[in-house]
């Protein structure tokens, strides 16, 4: 294998979860062994290219135009044998052609629990193509929203919420059901943007979320953490009276038990909720 990795790409490894030796400049024997192991480990029906053939830039960035352009252009220079659509990320809006855009938005918009569960889950063609690949490529990350605030999580993470969650006690299992992004190293499933024309809905409305039937994100309540005691002196001018206000904040600590992206078979087994467009 020629070393075909541009040096600039190696700078963006900070956010990656995979060990970096897969993409080193000089392919050592260890890398080859590891990549061979990767191939043999994947005995599933979905054949993924070995790790050193996959795009080396994780699709953690947001802009869909960049996602579509950068991996393919880099690979056209060097390695034309890989089909370009395989390397692109599964952005629902970017990949689906224009007649499908209405279906793909209907996957992604899930305003509330009851409403989204009553509607059938529609999978666009591009989602059907790329969801299996996203499923087999672990570990996954999720951008889950709690009270509209996003938290980027992977399995095993500890999350200290910036507030004290009422009504839960240590040991409880929570399910997060609002997520805007699901992803692995090479694939990203992103919620589409809502096409609303009303100004106030744009400003005040919820962000668009992925359908909650696509994934399972379980969190365990680990406990409560407290911040330091803070003292604030309250004093008025020309007055000797002073009051000291003490405050000590509590924060709920959660741990990510499981992030599971459901496979097509599991989605098919769900009763009466799936419409496949093919």
């Amino acid at each position: 294998m020629p070393s075909r990795l541009p040096s600039q790409a190696s700078k963006s490894y900070g956010t990656l979860r995979q060990p970096p030796q897969h993409r080193s400049h000089h392919i050592s024997s260890r890398t080859l062994v590891r990549s061979a192991l990767d191939i043999s480990a994947r005995t599933s029906t979905i054949s993924q290219p070995p790790t050193f053939l996959l795009p080396f830039r994780a699709s953690l960035h947001q802009a869909s135009t960049q996602q579509a352009v950068s991996p393919t252009s880099q690979f056209h220079n060097t390695q034309p044998e890989i089909p370009p659509p395989l390397l692109q990320t599964t952005d629902v809006n970017a990949l689906s052609p224009s007649p499908e855009s209405s279906e793909s938005t209907s996957i992604t918009t899930a305003p509330s629990t009851t409403q989204s569960l009553s509607q059938p889950l529609v999978l666009s063609r591009s989602l059907q193509e790329f969801l299996p690949k996203l499923c087999v490529q672990k570990p996954h990350y999720i951008v889950a929203h709690i009270h509209r605030f996003p938290y980027l999580l992977t399995e095993g993470d500890t999350l200290r919420l910036p507030f004290h969650m009422k009504g839960v006690s240590p040991g409880d299992v929570l399910r997060f059901n609002r997520a805007s992004i699901l992803g692995s190293r090479d694939y990203t499933l992103k919620a589409g943007t809502s096409n609303t024309e009303s100004y106030d809905a744009k400003r005040t409305g919820e962000p668009t979320y992925l359908d909650e039937r696509l994934f399972e994100c379980r969190m365990r309540v680990v406990g409560l953490e407290t911040g330091p005691m803070m003292d604030k002196e309250k004093k008025k001018r020309r007055n000797r009276h002073r009051k000291i206000v003490h405050s000590k904040h509590k924060y709920t600590v959660l741990r990510v038990m499981q992030i599971k992206i459901k496979n097509l078979e599991e989605l098919n087994q769900e009763k009466a909720t799936l419409l496949l467009e093919s």
Binding site: T113, I146, H147, R148, S169, R175, N177, Y199, E206, V221
Partner: protein, 93 residues
């Protein structure tokens, strides 16, 4: 009967008093306030006077103040799947 849903997007500060008075007549006191008025020619004329300041849509039913507020309350994004207490009780049995 349909209603106008009118939201004040831009304030009338610095504008002629006429515009401010129209907003006052519509019941819009501060930015992002939302009011509902029946679709009549007079209301349409009032909206036309301040059309640069408000966002208008037509709805079937007027919402109460609480319902308008509830639209802005974010989704919790989680629910409790199993409680530790219940699990302990199950183990005891």
């Amino acid at each position: 009967m349909s209603y106008f849903r009118i939201t004040l997007i831009r304030s009338a500060i610095g504008l002629p008093a006429k515009s401010g008075n129209v907003l006052k007549a519509l019941g819009l006191r501060k930015r992002m306030a939302t009011v509902f008025h029946p679709v009549t020619p007079s209301v349409a004329g009032q909206i036309m006077k301040v059309k640069e300041l408000v966002a208008v849509s037509e709805v079937d039913k007027p919402l109460t103040k609480e319902e308008v507020h509830q639209e802005r309350v974010p989704d919790a994004g989680f629910y409790v799947e199993s409680r530790a207490e219940d699990m302990r009780k199950k183990q005891d049995f």
